[in-house]
Amino acid sequence: MKSLLVANRGEIAVRIIRTARKMGIKTYAIRTAKEPSALYLEHADEVVDFIPNTEGIPEFLDIEGIISLAKANKIEAVHPGYGFLAESPYFAQRCDEEKIIYVGPSADAIYKMGNKTIAKQLAKKYNVPLVEGSAKNLKSVDEALSIAEKIAYPVILKAAAGGGGRGMRIVNKPEEMEKMFNMASNEAQKAFNDASIFIEKYVRKPRHIEFQVIGDKHGNIVHLGERECSIQRKHQKLIEEAPSAALNESLRKKMGEAAIEIARSVKYYSAGTVEFLLDADNNFYFMEMNTRIQVEHPVTEMVTGLDLIEQMIRVARGEKLSFAQKDIHINGWAIECRVNAEDVQSNFSPNMGIIEKMHLPAGKNIRIDTGIREGSEITPFFDSMIAKIICYGVTRDEAIQNTLDALNNTQIKGLRTTIPFFKALLHNKKFRKGDINTSFIDTEMKSLFYTEPVEELLAAFMATQDFANELKMDEDSVVDYNKGQTLSPWLLNKRLKSL
């Protein structure tokens, strides 16, 4: 493989390019009209322009457009990153047809695991435990009600083609069913163009534990340990860690083997993630398999020392894995914070705007994955991620402390971010003990953002001082050349800022 088209943007494009270049592969990035001067473009060896299609398909979902870019520029391989394109079996298939190396699993594996109903049938066939529910898609509210009756409330409705939390609704009692059924299926229709939903038992207080697997085209599959992603809001992950405080060696072995079993059921190759729910009694249930690199892959890289993008490229080239299960060791602890442009104080609503000024931390235990820089704009076109701050520690406590230090040393001016949330979480006693589950945010956090008592007073003083200065400026609108001699630092600062 001599050349690689990165069919994605943002931090993951930067991430893929970094490894590909290190491996001596010429990288191509796709420039779009929505962000023609984005950071990821500067990292690539070559930049090709996306040619808008007549149907108005978004850039990184335009399968034929991306295929023709690869062909026109004689690029050998394509990496889809994460997101909808990476979840499309059709894209993988089209790459095969056009003799473009697809850096990812087979179209068949993407299709089977992408369809949750098929995925569950496979898990059942290979005796991997599942949460009970409807084997097929629901036909009506009545059907949902009768299954819910059988498996007992609470139940959860999920989009068959879903992912990322969209098209999911929890139903606590029969009276809520109709409303929730309609909301879930509307959302599914919108997000995936497929309104079909299914129902299953809702496991209370579960932890979200996922296993990273990597397989080659020669039938070898190895797991790289787990990631804990239990801290979620509306089924969106906010912070991830590896390993999990809930697992011991024997449970890790059991779950890892189940993950490999799932991967083997679709002859999986490339990097993939098998997601489980783990209840308080250490029962685990298969949820789904993500057939792509994931946002939170860096924590696994930190504790295993492997470069997952490199492994994906090697596998795509047809190489055998250079390690076996016994060679994989988990060293230390890693935590990733997804710093998003969201206003934690108003329900994590997206906070669009321009990054006026940014200082990201650096150090030997810190890794930053970002696709933006000062002056970048967070737009409604793409996701609201600013950066992933990934910190390492020998122990979990040390990783938590290093993460707090890194967050305290991060400054982003111009918009609100999720940093105050992470500080509140990392200070939480139960979190620090590792006592978490997927409803932690709703049930265990008094405040979703970290503040110190004195901060409100200081903020009040700042506002008062600035207001007084404004009034003074109005009074002083007549130029007085002697004024500058007694300029207060407040006024001076204001003037500096307005230069």
């Binding site: 409604p380 901060e455 009040a460």
Partner: protein, 168 residues
């Protein structure tokens, strides 16, 4: 301008300051030692030897949003005279009992769940707003009567647009 000021927080908390000559500031009659520092384009307040990253988020006349360590606080700054006037007006406003429900984020209205003149309880769902591909239930922040619905299904709204007006 020097003199007495009241910073009134959104939750109604009062911070009384007096600004004197030579940059001396009093809080509740006691001297407040705060200094400001600028470093690499960021502004910091130094208080009791600790550094707090601070920025003026928004300001509009006497309304301020101050962001300190990433958390925003809203204040209106009043002089003793404007404060008395504000209190008087607030009382009048409360008697009418009208309260607007603002869009918490930009998005698209998917469905309206109530009709005008309907009586709602606090927490009742009023409409569904889709933003960032998620459907969000917007609920009544208080009990009352739906006086007016300003949006229809399919409308796109900006943050802080008035969606529904609630009254007694």
């Amino acid at each position: 301008m020097l003199g007495k000021f009241i910073a009134l927080s959104k939750a109604g908390k009062k911070f009384k300051f007096e600004l004197k000559k030579d940059g001396v500031a009093l809080y509740n009659g006691e001297r407040l030692n705060v200094s400001i520092e600028e470093e690499d384009g960021f502004m910091y307040l130094i208080y009791k030897r600790r550094k707090f990253a601070i920025e003026i988020g928004e300001k509009n006349q006497n309304k301020y949003q101050i962001v300190i360590n990433g958390v925003a606080y809203q204040f209106s700054i009043e002089t003793p005279i404007s404060f008395r006037r504000k209190k008087f007006l607030q009382k009048k406003h409360k008697d009418i009992g009208f309260e607007p429900l603002l869009a918490p984020m930009p998005g698209k209205i998917i469905e309206i769940l109530v009709e005008e003149d309907a009586e709602v309880k606090e927490g009742d769902p009023l409409l569904i707003l889709e933003a960032m591909k998620m459907q969000n239930e917007i609920t009544a922040q208080r009990a009352g009567k739906v006086i007016k619905i300003n949006v229809r299904a399919g409308d796109s709204v900006m943050k802080d647009d008035i969606l529904v007006e609630l009254g007694n």
